[in-house]
Amino acid sequence: MTEIPGWPDQSLLATAHAHFGEGADSDLPEWLRFLIGVVRIIDNRRRQATEPEQTPAVFFLAPKGPASLTTSELRSEPLLDNGLSELGGQLWFVGPVPHNGVALTLSEWPSDADLFDRIENELAIGDLPAVLFDPRPDPPQLRHYPAGLGDRDRVEVIATAGQPIDLDRVLEVLDIAHRFHLEKPRSKPESARLWQNGAKHRPKSDAEARIQFILRIALQAAFPATVVREEQPQTSGRLDLEIDEAVPPPGTFIRHALLELKVLRSYTSTGSTVSSSAAAKAIEEGLRQAIAYRDERGTLASALCCFDMRKTHSGESCFEPVTQRAGEQKVALRIWPLYGTVDQFRRATT
């Protein structure tokens, strides 16, 4: 197609760059869209404000506002994400895509202890997913409380836009995702079920896609200022996961990391035996893809990530045929074991 009369391509490209990633999270859970949206609000505010914010603000995933407050106590703020609204000194109640919000303005910002106490007790909103923006430290901090401020120990300090993202940090996120979401079988939600029959070591036929989605969520939550994309087409194939960020000038992107994912199997979902050479072929192919896609896209770092769903886990010995080449090409190699039953996990780890 050619340029559409009255809709210059230059204008469309500028819009696409300025709003890179909006809508890319449409299939992600609401708590994650909320986190991404709040990070965007903070970043837009940082760019638009004539003076830096001085006072903290807390954002809650609660589009209707708290039940403990009447609508007359809340102030409506349309276009909250345009960067022109002062954020500090307020409790914000927003939806999963926070263009708009309602706010409770605190006449005086309390001490941290009093703030948490008021949120948990007086307002009874300690269980709402929340993001606390604190401009007081240098650099300013964003703290994500996925289970609410009532669960103070469950907090993640979030990287804001422009922060360097290195491969070690990315692989650390995958380590955590493996430990909590992949290592042992899960029954809920259905999308997290990886085994057709765990006792017989039969992965689901779409185990790769399921693992990929779980990792995408984990990476997006760890790096909400970026866009984590799946299945981006390439001339030489289709890459699995990539972490992208739009940066000035328009049309410029940083591709922080590219991950090729492989699932190693002993059996198919229906119980057919998978040849022992299939794993070696998958690893060889995965390394080739990790190198080719990284070079084609100018990605800063790449890794081959294998998820071992075989009857017997090999550990890193399966990488021996490719270790030298991976080192020369600076592609990280990782493998994580997955267990089909909790008993398998216990036997292997005790």
């Binding site: 559409i4 809709w7 391509d9 909006e22 890319a24 939806g95 895509v97 708009n100 919000g101």
Partner: protein, 221 residues
């Protein structure tokens, strides 16, 4: 005596779309929705449906200076209010650009009735996708603000097509023809970003609405 009536599937789908728009409006913190905004969002949900591979439900509409107004959509709204699925508030009269008086209201969902409808609809993958799509349209348009939503059609590629005068019939799903202009522009985003980035369907909708926002802002300056 049973008062049940059997509705044709297109009627059911249009009513589901109204419910989905208002559910999205709540999540986007823009509910209750005035009638004008509800009709405008309904129009965009129709016009951009092919971006998601979905069917346009109301392809022909009368082009009006004040923006899209669908008699079929209003009939759906009135029926849903009558059933108690929608709540109407702030009833008032207003005179439109053609000097006709109409009853206006703000609309919100009655969750006691709407929640089970939405839950049941989500069980069917095809209709769950439609609900997701409408929700995304509402989320995107919420970024325009109340005035922006009301004015959005004036910048919309298909609705502002100067080949169709106010008072004439606008067809946003011409048979054996290219997709409507709005769909073409949304799709163009994907073409321009390729091969660097493969945009998803939701991204194209959001970017198209952001482009409308830029045009509305430029028109005001």
């Amino acid at each position: 005596m049973s008062g049940a009536t059997t509705l044709a599937l297109p009627d059911v789908r249009r009513q589901l779309r109204v419910i989905a728009i208002l559910a999205g409006a709540e999540a986007a913190v823009i509910a209750p929705l005035p009638a004008r905004q509800l009709h405008t969002i309904g129009y965009f949900a129709d016009a951009l449906a092919p971006v998601w591979g979905l069917q346009i439900l109301d392809p022909k509409l009368l082009k009006r200076n004040e923006g899209p107004t669908s008699p079929a959509l209003q009939a759906d709204i009135d029926r849903l209010v009558g059933c108690g699925v929608l709540l109407a508030s702030a009833l008032r009269h207003s005179e439109d650009a053609e000097g006709l008086w109409r009853i206006e209201a703000d609309y919100a969902l009655n969750h006691d009735f709407a929640a089970p409808i939405l839950a049941e609809t989500r069980r069917f993958e095809r209709y769950a996708r439609e609900l997701d799509y409408v929700r995304e349209v509402v989320f995107a348009m919420a970024g325009l603000g109340a005035i922006g939503i009301s004015e959005a059609s004036s910048s919309d590629a298909a609705y502002s097509n100067q080949m169709v005068d106010s008072g004439d019939l606008l067809d946003i799903a011409p048979v054996d023809s290219e997709p409507n202009l709005s769909v073409q522009v949304a799709t163009r985003f994907g073409e321009l970003m390729a091969p660097e980035v493969a945009l998803g369907d939701a991204e194209k909708v959001h970017l198209y609405v952001r482009e409308l926002h830029n045009r509305l802002a430029a028109n005001r300056d």
